[in-house]
């Protein structure tokens, strides 16, 4: 029964850590994209596409972590 509680704790902490990483990553992308757009407004659409792809890839990795946390919490 004690181990059971620790698994929930681990799941919660893991979810939070995954979100920290993804938040930092996507925040960096958004910051750089905003900067790039401000410097070169004519490249906006290219920058947006690149930004979305990179954000999706980072998000994908974060979601792997979240899925593992959900599995940990449910099992």
């Amino acid at each position: 029964m004690e181990g059971f509680g620790l698994a929930y704790l681990g799941a919660g902490l893991g979810a939070g850590l995954a979100v920290i990483g993804a938040g930092l990553g996507i925040g960096n992308i958004a910051a750089s994209a905003a900067e790039g757009t401000a410097r070169q407004p004519e490249a906006t659409s290219d920058i947006r596409t690149t930004m979305i792809i990179a954000a999706a890839l980072i998000e994908g990795v974060a979601l792997f972590g979240e899925v593992i946390c959900v599995l940990l919490a449910l099992k």
């Binding site: 659409s45 596409t49 979305i52 792809i53 999706a56 890839l57 998000e59 994908g60 979601l63 792997f64 979240e66 899925v67 449910l74």
Partner: protein
């Protein structure tokens, strides 16, 4: 202009040629998952077994109940519930035991299978209407209403997704990309209407879609480079002494791409629903109207609107990455193209 609209309506019709096998295999995989869950619960019926597992600990009834409802909403099951008005029990079917390999396999029609059928019926209707409309238009006429909205999306996929990522010869892959885009989009959106279920929130459906992308990518690579070129591609253009490391990495890389596509779409669509339901259940757990009015409902509406955006974004991302993988597989340059492929793993 006229020629463009003709090719476009042709592309729209080609979409349906791809739709049927997709549907069938999505159905097969959903059935396979139903079989797995029934296998795990032994001879018991599936739904009571799942409830028994989740309602196992009686210590915290409120939270257990919340978890129950959320899991019931997320997971595939045999009941199509219209809560205050009752529910529809979906038929449970299985392959007759006499059939050699598949004997006894559960091929029940589940909630998500119904949603898949609904989505494909909707797609057929919408695109038949739109496609027929283009035949009545003259070259100088702009479409109105639904046709205009669909045209905007089709043009977006054609120019911003297919052309910019695949480049030369993108027309061949356009029907597949359009099918995937609109199929995922409609699945996502139907999951957001009340009583709907998100078929893309089922990992079997997303896995099927990514397997299609996988095969399209591999076949495109074979067609573009031939068998010799394909095998050369696996060595990544490195010295032969490095092949023992590079070849396995490249082969694994081929499989991680569809896996990432699968989990991304599945987790995105599932997570949104879990968050909305959790926010609603905060007020039930705390038993407070104030919390319901100030936290649950406003935040749930906010997340709901965000989900509306995510429905489009994930359809776009899936299509975009499919196009990107096809483009990388068919690109004709040597090393720089390969570096780009590595960067995207």
């Amino acid at each position: 202009m006229k020629r463009l609209s003709v090719t476009r309506s042709k592309a729209i019709f080609k979409v349906f040629a791809v739709l049927l096998p997709l549907l069938l295999s999505g159905y097969g995989l959903a059935a396979a998952s139903a079989e797995r869950s029934s296998g795990a619960s032994g001879n018991m019926a599936v739904t009571p077994a799942v409830e028994a597992v989740h309602g196992g600990a009686e210590a915290a009834p409120e939270e257990e109940k919340a978890g129950d409802v959320i899991m019931h909403h997320i997971l595939d099951n045999h009941v199509f519930a219209f809560e205050p008005f009752g529910s529809v029990e979906l038929p449970r079917l299985s392959v007759p035991a006499a059939v050699p390999v598949l004997g006894g396999m559960d091929i029940s029609i589940t909630k998500h299978v119904v949603m898949l059928w609904l989505v494909s019926a909707l797609l057929l209707i919408v695109f038949s209407v739109v496609g027929l409309k283009y035949k009545t238009l003259t070259a100088r006429q702009a479409p109105k209403g639904l046709a205009n909205a669909i045209e905007a999306l089709v043009e977006f996929v054609r120019l911003d997704v297919a052309k910019s990522n695949i480049g030369h010869g993108y027309e061949k892959h356009l029907p597949y990309l359009l099918t995937v885009f609109f199929f995922i989009l409609f699945c996502n959106l139907l999951g957001l209407i009340p009583y709907g279920a998100t078929a893309t929130g089922n990992v079997n459906v997303t896995l099927t879609l990514s397997i299609f992308t996988f095969f399209v990518t591999q076949i495109a690579a074979f067609k573009a480079h031939g068998v010799k070129g394909y095998l050369q591609h696996l060595t990544a253009g490195t010295h032969w002494s490095l092949w023992i490391i590079m070849v396995p990495i490249e082969i694994i890389g081929q499989f991680t791409k569809p896996f990432a596509l699968t989990v991304r779409l599945f987790a995105n669509m599932t997570a949104g629903h879990i968050i909305i339901l959790s926010l609603i259940f905060i007020s039930f757990i705390l038993k407070s109207y104030v919390v319901a009015a100030t936290v649950s409902v406003p935040f749930a509406i906010f997340i709901y609107l965000l989900e509306l955006f995510v429905a489009f974004l994930q359809a776009f991302v899936f299509t975009m990455l499919s196009a990107l993988f096809i483009g990388l597989a068919t690109a004709h340059s040597g090393n720089d193209e390969h570096e780009a492929a590595v960067a995207h793993h």
